[in-house]
């Protein structure tokens, strides 16, 4: 037996075997080890036993009562302990997102680019000039259609000479007769009810009476359409070329030509009957200015049919 085996057997507390006893008697180190171990055990086990105090159970009961009062063991509370912070966090997050959306939507119109005030020169032919309507039956994306309808209605009113529909200040009308190109201001797309006054003051007319069926409170909320895309009649297009016409059996008969106008330069003469513009036969319907530019005119002169190319003045 070696020292390690002896110590192991001794620490296990088993009775020493004969071999261990022989080793102990012969090995000085193991003899010392055994002696110290026995003394150490005796010293430790001779330590006084500490007793619990007499009021131990009282202290236990008070701790128990305290623990019962402070520790919620309800499963609902256990659930709420985790659910409440999560719910609070969710509410805060939701509020922040909601608030940011509200803020964004409130500021969006201000941040957006304001509709530009377009300046377009038109040459008025009559006292009344379709300055671009400011009201529409409905504000929608299909504003082009709405514009066409309304201009048509205004021009029809002109033809029927219904002063009850539009009343024009005489002084302002005289200004409009001036061949100097007039500025047509488009109003902000976000008119309210008071926007009518703005329109009237801008146009210099006493009152704008809108065609029946059009709600004056409903105003266009989209930017103004460019003039190039608006509809005009053939008469108006010819007027822009300096050619004044009268109706003649579905065609237009030239009644006058302004000096130094494109019509005069191109050789149009009084008495010519214009039957088509840019290949499009003249009708009462409005023509699309974007597609009809008045570059070529088909006319009848002395029972001859001529194609005249309009030249710039």
């Amino acid at each position: 037996m070696n020292c390690q085996e002896f110590k192991s057997q001794f620490e296990d507390g088993l009775n020493l075997s004969h071999a261990a006893k022989i080793h102990q008697s012969t090995c000085k180190e193991c003899g010392l080890f055994q002696s110290e171990e026995l003394q150490l055990t005796e010293m430790i086990r001779s330590l006084p036993k500490v007793k619990a105090p007499n009021d131990f159970e009282f202290g236990f009961r008070s701790k128990l009562a305290k623990a019962e009062a402070s520790k919620p063991f309800s499963p609902i509370w256990k659930f709420l302990r985790f659910a409440m912070p999560l719910t609070a966090a969710g509410l805060i997050l939701g509020f922040v997102i909601f608030s940011s959306n509200i803020f964004k939507s409130e500021n969006a119109p201000q941040l957006a680019e304001k509709p530009k005030i377009e300046e377009k020169s038109v040459e008025p032919k009559n006292d009344l000039t379709p300055t671009g309507n400011l009201v529409a039956e409905e504000a929608n994306n299909d504003s082009e259609k709405v514009e066409v309808k309304t201009v048509e209605a205004v021009i029809k009113n002109q033809k029927e000479n219904t002063p009850s529909e539009i009343t024009v200040n005489n002084s302002k009308a005289s200004v409009k007769k001036d061949p100097v190109k007039d500025e047509i201001r488009t109003l902000d797309s976000r008119h309210d009810k008071d926007s009518t006054q703005t329109l009237e003051s801008t146009l210099g007319i006493e009152k704008v009476i809108r065609p029946p069926g059009i709600d004056p409170d409903k105003v266009i909320d989209s930017p103004r359409m460019p003039l190039e895309t608006k509809a005009f009649t053939a008469k108006e297009i010819l007027s822009e070329l300096g050619i004044e016409t009268n109706d003649a059996n579905g065609s237009l008969k030239v009644s006058g030509i302004r000096k130094n106008s494109a019509g005069e330069v191109s050789g149009i003469k009084i008495g010519d009957i214009v039957t088509a513009i840019d290949g499009q036969t003249i009708t009462d319907k409005p023509l699309q200015k974007g597609s009809i530019q008045g570059k070529t005119l088909k006319i009848q002169r002395d029972e001859r049919e001529l194609d005249i190319t309009i030249r710039n003045k």
Partner: protein, 212 residues
Amino acid sequence: MALDKIRNSNTGGLHTAVSFEELSDHQLIEATKNGDEEAFGEIIKRFKTPLTNYLYRMLNDYEEAVDLAQESFVRVYFAIERYHSEYAFSTYIYRIATNLAISEIRKRKRRKLFSLTGLYQYDGDEDKEFQPEDEKPVPEDDLINEEKRQVIEKAIVSLPEKYRVPIVLREIEEKTYEEIADILELGLGTTKSRISRGRGLLREKMRDYFEK
């Protein structure tokens, strides 16, 4: 009543009075589960002194030892429904007390806390933390002198935690290796090794006091 059932079952259905002292730990626990508070009182009575002594030797602080012993019973009481009788009840409650003691030791290390009755000394060995003997326990030491007693107490408390716990359980509480292994949830070999190593450290500290 639950206790009546236990008494009846112990006495083969005879209605003879059976005192709490005659009931096993498990029977007392069962009675407590069924609402008998007095049964738990008997459990306290059985374990309060060994548990207090064990914790005192672990911490060398009597007030703290009593406090943690009471806390151990509180925890047993609240978890009594989850107690299973696969282990001895003493193993169960010693495990709880050991965990509380270890937590307290680590807390003291972290905070370098001075106890009301003790002091902290540092002489190069971080585990050499001790407090003077509390005067409350009444020593019955007629075998060794006061100096030896103080030295061995200090030596035990100065042991590293992983050696101190099995040494106290083995040498003071006189638990078997198997019980200690169960309490500490260690393997038997590890438990023996730690005890052997702890005893070796104690021998080194006490060498000057051994008789040649």
